[in-house]
Symmetry: D2
Subunit: 160 residues, 4 copies
């Protein structure tokens, strides 16, 4: 299994499917591109997930969430991350490592998704408030993946 497949599986294991993210991409872009299909969103998303720096960001964020769940991160950091403290900021920094690569449309979409929390993003956020579940990094990563795929589609579309 290569790193790309490993990353898709890891997201799945943490409760996030490709379809969960692709539908957010679709909702972001349908107001700008009438003819857009969910398939195009899935293709764009998979290309984002094929980039090395994206894979590294996704795996690092999930590894931190898991280390917190397994109580393998020291205090006071453990408590800050476990409570998804709004001024922690490092979860967004990691997500920006993804968004950066996809230009300014990705930035705008990221901020919007992080604030509105549609679909799976809102679900991850709620589940993360339960004991033994930490999604502090995962919800921002999903925002970044969707925002980046949407930016990729916007750029590709204008090239036709």
């Amino acid at each position: 299994m290569n790193l790309y497949e490993f990353t898709i599986n890891k997201l799945k294991e943490r409760g996030v499917s490709i379809d969960d993210i692709a539908i957010i991409v679709f909702d972001l872009q349908k107001k700008y591109i009438d003819s857009i299909s969910l398939d195009e969103c899935t293709i764009a998303l998979k290309r984002v997930l094929n980039k090395r720096e994206v894979i590294h960001a996704v795996l690092t964020g999930i590894a931190i969430d898991e280390a917190v769940e397994n109580k393998n991160f020291p205090n006071p950091l453990w408590e800050i991350i476990n409570n998804d403290y709004s001024l922690y900021g490092i979860d967004e920094i990691l997500a920006l490592g993804i968004v950066n690569i996809y230009g300014s449309i990705a930035f705008t979409n990221f901020g919007y998704l992080d604030k509105e929390k549609p679909q799976i993003i809102g679900k991850l956020d709620s589940l993360g408030k339960n004991d033994n579940c930490c999604h502090t990094f995962l919800d921002d990563i999903v925002c970044a993946l969707a925002a980046s795929a949407a930016s990729k589609i916007a750029h590709n579309f204008s090239e036709n």
Copy 2:
């Protein structure tokens, strides 16, 4: 007149008052901080506008908008900026130069404002579509100023 006052006056000349931006800051933060006042938002905004790199970004963005209005920018760039082409991207880059300094809450708020375009931001965007008026940089700058002031308030609040 110092650079700070010059910048406030320049914004005013371009149709944006301190109050226009402060009300956006207030609307962003009132859901998180019950006791917030418009005065606090104004104070935070003025402190943002006192930073050297912020002043440089504001003045540079406005100077480009004006150079485009005065037809002092060459083609093909003139057309790209005059039409506020959605894939231009440099207006957001300049705005991120402001937002960067105020951390990840500023990023999220910036994306949200750039997408939702509340109040003066939407007005600037509409006016910019008229002949002889270019707000390609100014609307993003106002988003960045409001987002940064909101982030400053969030950080200060948690310190009390």
Copy 3:
């Protein structure tokens, strides 16, 4: 003439050839990749220069330099940019708009080049100190183009 060719010509008109930048890329990467050729550096650089957001950043930076030379930018900004004031900061912000897209190796190389100013970068910097010549944005843009091409080569190389 398409936008890509227009941009290459514009750089040439401002005193910067593809070869001038490619040799910097070569010098950056030869310590890491024994077998690297100048041709590979040229190819990577041309691919960087083919990206829309890169083209927009290059053209915007040069347009500002030219507006300053033609005294079409207002004071106090004119004086700040004309003197390449070290705390101006917006020249680097625009360059980071390019570097961002090419990941963290591009960042590191950018900072190094901006500090060391090898070859054409140093020449642009010196020439810019003359009357009627402004290279405040151009030298940072050349740093960003070289740093991004070097990062692209590093990523491609490791994929083989």
Copy 4:
């Protein structure tokens, strides 16, 4: 013990003293400011280390290094981080979370330090190659702290 003191102690525990970083700041700035003293560098550095987002970045980076040393991070990520794989990129992303706040001079200095690895930065890098020792994040964090303090001094100096 507050978070600031905790962070200073944690750096010390990982082999990095305030003096180790302050001397790098001094070496960066002495060519620009004749009258600079090591004390000023120490004061600027301590103010950087007092910022919440800086503290979070430092503690998160060190926690990852330690989790890797303790084999509490899963493969394939463990191997990538343990070997300080040059295309990993997330160590620089985290460091940029610090540098971002201090503007463009901080960016330039960061790239320079990350490439030249003076003093403690080179030592951390070498030690990190030993078994049971991981400094993948720590060396970039030290670069970021020194670069940010140098930028702070440059900005303060010009205000006098």
